[in-house]
Amino acid sequence: MTWPRLVRGELRKLTTTKLPWGFLAVLILFAGIDAAVVVWGTDMDGSKTFISTAEDQQSLMAFAFNAMLGTGLFGAIAVAREYGHNTVVPMFLTSPKRSRAVLAQLTAVLLGGAVLGLVGQALIISGVALALPSTAYGFLVSAGNVTQLLAASTLAGATGAVLGAGLGAAIRNLGGAATAVVLALFMLPPLAVQLFNDAASWIPPTLGGVISGVSTEVTLWAAIAALLAYGLVPAAIGLLAVQRRDVV
């Protein structure tokens, strides 16, 4: 039963530094900003129609893409710092079969990303729900759609974390890995859309909207499959890179 032990060790790594607390602080900030938008924000005409329907409120609260971007950075930092601090040495000494060690690390980061995505979405929903009574509108989103938002951000958070972890393992440098995450999720997709119009349906912001139920560009299952690919491809690259490289 080596692998569960390794996952437990990797989870302890994540929870014994300030990294998750830093990301939690950012999530609370996001939730506060959303709540402030509800309280003080208006449309161009001074009205609050942007929160007047259930769809509008669901769209405002949809956090999946932001969760993916944020946990992408989380995963990249969690893995790349292992190389920066050389803690990868005791990791591979404990588990010299590197694929096991890296899969355990990816699993732990996936779980961490999922929790961050879920908590982030829950905080945003709570912030908006608490802010709405200060307006003329109530909380209109159904329980089913709230559940979809939570599930979407959890999935996007997990996927983003695996994407970041894969890039972190492949690149190893903290700054380089974080930059690669921003490029992969934030900079390159718009460029791809410029080159290929059809790509607009498959970029992470669109896919995040689809799984959150606020967009119908592609089917839900196609969006889930595409999001998983965004995570799995960098993870596979990272896994292969770690197998082949010397730890120096």
Binding site: E10, R12, T16, V89, F92, P96, D246, V247
Partner: protein, 315 residues
């Protein structure tokens, strides 16, 4: 009991040969020092042994088994490699907890090794606030976590104060006395002299001497001659290391005492003294690793002039 076997090990980085056809064996029950100048290939050899780096050729194994194929590596081999392989924001105790989690070691063992390493008082402090010596002690505590019969330690004495050095020496000698294998690299020659039973010396990635330290230390010959220059040339050409010593003597290493006498006689050079001379490890090390010599030159051979060759591997 495990032995450690390095067989024809070679490591190339592009055109640089860092480890060059290295072969030696380390036996349990002894402390074996692994010596060499900076860049000699010691750390690379250890990394290949521990499957952190791949060999271009050859094998490095524990008994017949590669590190990656050991059933329970943490309980078999304790390792100190990188002095700063810690997250600075994590406590020492949590660092050990992570290792114990991964290896399935009873958490009670963490307290034992913290006490053993003398850092229990600082276990809950961030490692970033540790001194180099404390980090080194934490690294040694981590190596002992699985109570392994084999210890592979790269410069474990770095940063330790005199009490720490004494503690480490006692610890390693006790492990060896209990039948464990202790393989320790160090550039602190005086410390190795106190600690090691055997040494393996490499230079430019190649083995230059290996054997019992007590035998190797006797592998010098004191020569007194009225013609030191021609004798020096003859002996140097034969592959010996020759140094001027106080009193007009020469100290010759790398040739048996009889061969020195024979060569002097053949050249018609009178000898007024020809006697075994023990050298310090530092003198020996400098002879073996003389940068001007080609790697692995026979001058580095550590032949005992007046003892059987069984404990020394002449090269």
């Amino acid at each position: 009991m495990y032995s450690l076997q390095i067989e024809n090990l070679t490591k190339r980085y592009r055109h640089d040969v860092v480890v060059d056809d290295l072969s030696f064996t380390v036996q349990p029950g002894r402390v074996t020092g692994f010596l060499g100048p900076n860049g000699a290939g010691k750390s690379t050899t250890m990394k290949i042994l521990l499957d952190l780096a791949s060999a271009s050729r050859g094998r490095a194994t524990f008994g017949p088994t590669r590190y990656r194929d050991l059933d329970d590596p943490t309980r078999t081999v304790g390792v100190v490699l990188e002095p700063n392989a810690f997250h600075p924001g994590r406590s020492g105790r949590n660092h050990l907890r992570i290792l114990a989690d991964g290896a399935g070691i009873d958490p009670a063992r963490i307290e034992q090794v913290l006490e053993m390493a003398g850092i229990a008082y600082a276990a809950d402090r961030r490692v970033g606030a540790y001194s180099l010596g404390m980090r080194q002690r934490l690294g040694i505590a981590a190596a002992l976590l699985g109570d392994p019969p084999v210890l592979v330690l790269d410069e474990p004495g770095n940063g330790l104060d005199p009490q720490g050095i004494r503690w480490l020496r006692d610890l390693l000698r006790a492990r060896a006395a209990a039948g464990g294998l202790v393989f320790v690299s160090s550039h602190l020659l005086a410390e190795v002299e106190h600690l090691a039973d055997e040494v393996v010396v490499i230079s430019h990635g190649r083995l230059v001497a290996t054997g019992s330290l007590s035998t190797l230390r006797k592998a010098g010959v004191s020569v007194h001659t009225p013609e030191p220059r021609p004798l020096t040339r003859i002996l140097t050409d034969a592959g010996a290391a020759v140094h001027a010593a106080p009193g007009g003597r020469l100290v010759v290493r790398g040739l048996p005492i009889a061969e020195i006498g024979d060569r002097a006689c053949a050249a018609g050079i009178a000898l007024h003294e020809l006697a075994p001379e023990a050298g310090s490890l530092e003198e020996l090390f400098l002879d073996w690793t003389d940068a001007d010599k080609p790697a692995g030159a026979p001058a580095a051979a550590a032949k005992a002039p007046n003892e059987p060759q069984t404990e020394v591997v002449p090269l």
